[in-house]
């Protein structure tokens, strides 16, 4: 008996191609869609890079280095949004007002560019450098850190985390490099003479080239100060080491001109590494011994060394212009996604009534009455359209009530998008009903089509995680256009005029599909 029951199931499946389609083909179709999305979209495969927009008022050396660093990262795709010149003096820049005379964009233009870039949906994140972004990293403690602004539309939170990490990595690397240089400089005071050999002229001393053949041997256990003293003795064995850094009364310890230091205590060619920067502005006192001076130097350098890797080099701020003026812009997207998905289902369900009426003979009864085929199709379309508008409205009203999506603020854009979306789905549903021969066929076909459209079009999975190819495919669905439109309205708060493309596509589809539905429906009239 069990085998007989099993056989019934088998025979029913075998004799019903639609059921076979649902049982075997649909899972494969969906597997392919989701595999396409997740393998080349969300996953970290090379196919899907984070697209980063780069925008800065002026290009500086540090900025260019940062950009080069970002471009070298295999997970990022960095593209400049504004081409701007390298200025001769960044202090001339203004941060407000019209575009500056030398072609450097002002804040207003940059803001507009960022808004446009976000609306285009082509960027996961935008990096904005301020007009006063420095040319090089500050080395001293207490200096103002570099400011980097990450502008996000909130669609891809992972992008913020990733880019923040990469930018911080750049500055950490830069800091480490600077600190390493400082350490190298510190030790060069002790190593200089020992390493130096030969008559070569080194053009890096104060007041002239560094010349000499002296050597000394650094012994284990010697302090930095002791080694520095040895080095000075090697450099100038005649002079008392105390006189080198000592400030003789009545003499000018440091002689400088416009181009830099000429001599130190009358000695030219002093290696730069030996003279701390602060000594240039604050010469040592005459009563300090050479050793004390050297200890002071070492202490200062050591302090620099320790502080240079701990001070704040970059301050990253994250800005979400959309979230700044509304509470839950993302909720509106989810509301739209779900609303469109269910709208498609309910629309085809309502359109199926046409087939039901055809099967029962009700349509024949209508057709021989006063109602023509056009009236019937138009009436059905209008009913599905109005119901669709109502369905979306209820969804958004609920979202407004619970999540405060600022429906009233965007009522105009919402109305436009709702009307267009409902019109397109109504025509789609009517076309499906006129193409299919039975309700069973319509149910099977519509389930496959609607779920596929919703998966690819962004109702199930956000489109920003999809690969470009998947996004292109998504453009063939109502979901994608409707979601793009609602996104512009609720997320980017764009004006109605920005909805031209979405409105054109949706209304165009509504007209084309509606006319096709009318043409295909003639089979009922002609028999």
């Amino acid at each position: 008996m069990i085998l007989t029951i099993l056989r019934i199931l088998y025979l029913r499946l075998r004799n019903n191609p639609l059921e076979l389609l649902l049982v075997f083909v649909m899972p494969v179709v969906f597997f392919s869609i989701f595999a396409g999305i997740f393998s080349k979209g969300i996953a970290t495969g090379s196919d899907k890079k984070l697209r980063v927009g780069w925008i800065t008022g002026t290009e500086t050396t540090l900025g260019l280095e940062l950009r080069a660093f970002l471009e070298s990262n295999s997970t990022l795709e960095c593209k400049s949004l504004i081409e701007c010149p390298v200025p001769s003096n960044s202090s001339e820049h203004s941060s407000s007002g019209e575009e500056l005379a030398d072609g450097i964009p002002d804040d207003a233009k940059i803001d507009a560019t960022i808004a446009d870039a976000q609306r285009s949906g082509r960027y996961d994140l935008i990096i904005r450098l301020p007009l006063d972004f420095p040319s090089e990293l500050a080395e001293e403690q207490g200096a103002e850190p570099c400011s980097v602004q990450l502008v996000t539309d909130g669609q891809n939170p992972m992008a913020v985390a990733m880019v923040t990490s990469v930018v911080e990595g750049f500055f950490a690397q830069k800091q480490a490099s600077t600190a390493a240089m400082q350490l190298v400089n510190l030790s060069s005071a002790t190593r200089y003479a020992s390493k130096y050999a030969g008559p070569e002229i080194r053009d890096q001393g104060y007041g002239g080239p560094v010349v000499g053949e002296q050597t000394f041997e650094a012994l284990p256990g010697e302090s930095e100060s002791q080694r520095a003293l040895k080095a000075i003795q090697c450099f100038d064995p005649v002079s008392d080491p105390a006189t080198f850094f000592g400030n003789e009364p009545g003499s000018e310890w440091l002689i400088t001109d416009a181009e830099g230091v000429i001599s130190v205590n009358g000695i030219s060619g002093v290696p730069r590494e030996w003279l701390p920067e602060e000594f240039l502005s604050d010469p040592p006192k005459s009563d300090q011994t050479t050793l004390e001076l050297l200890e002071a130097i070492v202490k200062a350098r050591t302090a620099e060394k320790s502080s240079s890797v701990t001070y704040e080099a970059v301050r990253i701020s994250i800005e979400n212009p959309q979230a700044a003026t509304q509470e839950n812009p993302r909720i509106a997207m989810y509301a739209a996604g779900i609303a469109v998905l269910f709208l498609l289902f309910s629309s085809t369900g309502n359109a199926a009534a046409l087939l039901e009426e055809s099967e029962s003979g009700t349509l024949d009864r209508m057709l021989i009455g006063k109602a023509g085929l056009f009236h019937i199709i138009a009436g059905k379309w209008l009913g599905i359209f109005l119901l669709g508008c109502l369905q979306i409205t209820v969804m958004f009203l609920w979202a407004e009530l619970i999540f405060r999506i600022q429906l009233w603020k965007h009522l105009d854009g919402f109305t436009v998008m709702t009307v267009c979306t409902a019109a397109a789905t109504a025509s789609f549903a009517m076309l499906m009903a006129t193409l299919c021969r039975s309700r069973a066929q319509l149910n099977a076909v519509s389930v496959v089509l609607i779920l596929s459209m919703s998966a690819v079009g962004g109702s199930m999975i956000p489109r920003f995680v999809m690969s470009d190819r998947m996004k292109e495919i998504g453009q063939w669905t109502f979901n994608a256009w409707a979601l793009d439109g609602y996104q512009k309205v609720f997320w980017y708060q764009s004006p109605i005029t920005s909805l031209r493309t979405e409105v054109t596509v949706l209304l165009g589809s509504a007209v084309v599909l509606g006319v096709l539905a009318l043409l295909f429906s003639r089979r009922w009239k002609r028999g």
């Binding site: 009426e357 099967e359 029962s360 003979g361 009700t362 024949d364 009864r365 209508m366 057709l367 021989i368 009455g369 006063k370 109602a371 009239k525 002609r526 028999g527």
Partner: protein, 311 residues
Amino acid sequence: MSESSATTVSPVLTLENVRKTYRGREALKGISLELRPGELLGFFGPNGAGKTTMIRCISGLLKPDSGKIIRHPFDDPDDDEPVRLGLVPQNLAIYPDLTVQQNLEIFGRLEGVTGKVLKYRIEEVLEWAALKDRTRSLTKTLSGGMQRRLNIACSVLHDPDILLLDEPTVGVDPQSRERIYEMMKQLTEDGAAVLLTTHQLEEVETRCDRIVVMDHGAIVADGTLSELVSKFIGHPHRVNLKFDHPCSKPLASFIFDEPRTSATCSLASMKELPQVLSVLKQLEQAPSRIDVRSYGLQDVFLELTGRSLRE
């Protein structure tokens, strides 16, 4: 409707040599027919004979390939009032999720009946279909017979001149069937022409004024039951005798078969029966069984269409 009046009243519907090829098959092969006001015409034929195609052609849902379908006085240029047509499909062409009243309102409006007229007609039709006490019931909660009556009621709200019914009594109990035929009788009495297709022989025999038998897309017979019997069978009654043993003696008016265990005699009228049976006294052995039977539509039908199965 009497036979004489049927021929004197001008037809409300005329079909002239209507031909229709449907899905690669010649479904109607030159159908010619007239339907008069007050006439209940039964269309009878095996499955696939072309009955439904013909109804769809008459109702305008199908366009004939050739021939004419004239709905008088619709095609009469001197008459502004078009012929009103009602169609009762074989399936329940009503909305099960609407109440009886709502269904009637909807289909009334679709036929152009509105306002007070519609309200009045709904009252009338509810009474006519014996559904007055179920006005507010959802259609799906009605019995099969009630749903069938509502199905018909929805087609008469505009007071049609011609009502086409496709198998109107399928799956209903005898009481409901009786009620449906009473409804049709009232319609014909009010002057409507009713054309129905059915497989119920008894219904056609007893209810219809005229019977048309269709087969293979053509009308093979058209007339009253007695006309058909007399035309295709001959005598309308038959006496059949069965014997246990072969009967060697001949019997007047009876025809024996071989091996003479059965004999048949046809009668023009039942009045001849006593005289025919009286000859049995001459027999040596009494018949084991005597069957007296009147010929009906089934005999005509089988005579015309044969006994092979259709579709």
